[in-house]
Symmetry: C2
Subunit: 212 residues, 2 copies
């Protein structure tokens, strides 16, 4: 497998965690989202992923895009070390949690949106940080409530799931923007626990070859 | 089943389509996103969905949130009239398309984000429309390319899938904001076709009891 990745992309970080949890080996091809106007816009990359977004995963002849779709694919193609339980209600709960991050928090704070606020709407740095923090806090408030039954190690149940694959990169980002995590004790506890595990730790931005 | 819905919510529209396609009957409970500061923030609704977002689907004792998670649940619990094919690559392609809408387009243009731009960042109406159109056009450009193999009736293959459940509400919204669809012939053709089908037509905002 080959993963087109950027060290700081939290969508790529999700997929790196899932690949590691499942023990699947892969080569990484770095796509720098800032250099030369963004390598994701290069003709070479657009030919692979016309959406001009990372990550992209190549598995045999398959070209896979969108991190949550990639997670579902990995779960179906490589069911060993399941990242979803069998119970339908629990699966729905975990997917809803993952999608809360992927649909309600991350899209508002990713690089291209922050660039648009700055460059098109001439939003100041202070306002941009306030925007970022607003969506994180609103989202984390909901996530923390969804985690009330968590054992403080993983989001749901006794092992890692799609929920942890999405939560850890989002918390990593929040820490970069100085969000006070003490208001979210379950989130903080799960983050601390998971980041000690090899699958999560080795997927982190600073462990990537393209880290700066 | 009981669906907490708002006629104009495109996330609720997705779920209404899926329920109709699968022939599942449900009661609708309207949640007005604007009246009285937004009924999704009422104590009664927050007790059901602490994320304060629509839709929520109640099925027996299950409380289901996040539209794409609800679609996955419906597919697993009620497999008749499948909305995903069996082939792993096709499933991944359809999910990536649906997530492109749910993660890259819709989150930037939903009510609470437009309200935040206006109220917090004091963005003008003209700038707000430009913001809306920017993300739609960027997203539709990618979607149109993903649809090159489409038969012009459905997004992928010979029947409706998660992709159509997500595309039709997004196009409905785009039309409200005067997006010129002639640049996206596949999208336009699929929209025209699907909106003639009862499952889609009856899920549309103007067919809802809470339509204004």
């Amino acid at each position: 497998m080959k993963l087109y990745s950027y060290f700081r992309s939290s969508a790529a970080f999700r997929v790196r965690i899932a690949l590691n949890l499942k023990g699947l080996s892969y080569d990484t091809q770095a796509v720098h989202l800032l250099k030369q106007g963004g390598e994701q816009h290069s003709a070479e990359y657009v030919a692979i992923n016309p959406s001009e977004l990372v990550p992209t995963l190549l598995d045999q002849q398959y070209v896979l895009t969108q991190s949550l779709s990639i997670l579902e694919y990995l779960e179906e193609a490589y069911p060993k070390t399941a990242l979803l339980p069998q119970n339908l209600q629990q699966r729905a709960q975990i997917r809803a949690f993952a999608q809360h991050i992927a649909c309600e928090i991350h899209p508002l704070n990713n690089l291209r949106v922050l660039q648009c606020l700055e460059q098109t709407l001439a939003v100041s740095n202070t306002e941009k940080t306030a925007w970022y923090q607003h969506w994180i806090k609103l989202g984390f408030h909901s996530l923390e409530q969804q985690l009330q039954q968590s054992n403080g190690q993983y989001c749901f149940g006794e092992q890692a799931s799609f929920a942890d694959c999405c939560l850890i990169p989002q918390v990593y980002n929040a820490k970069r923007f100085q969000i006070d995590l003490t208001e979210y004790p379950k989130i903080q506890s799960i983050y601390t626990h998971c980041m000690q595990l090899a699958a999560f730790h080795q997927a982190a931005p600073e462990q990537q070859a393209d880290w700066e």
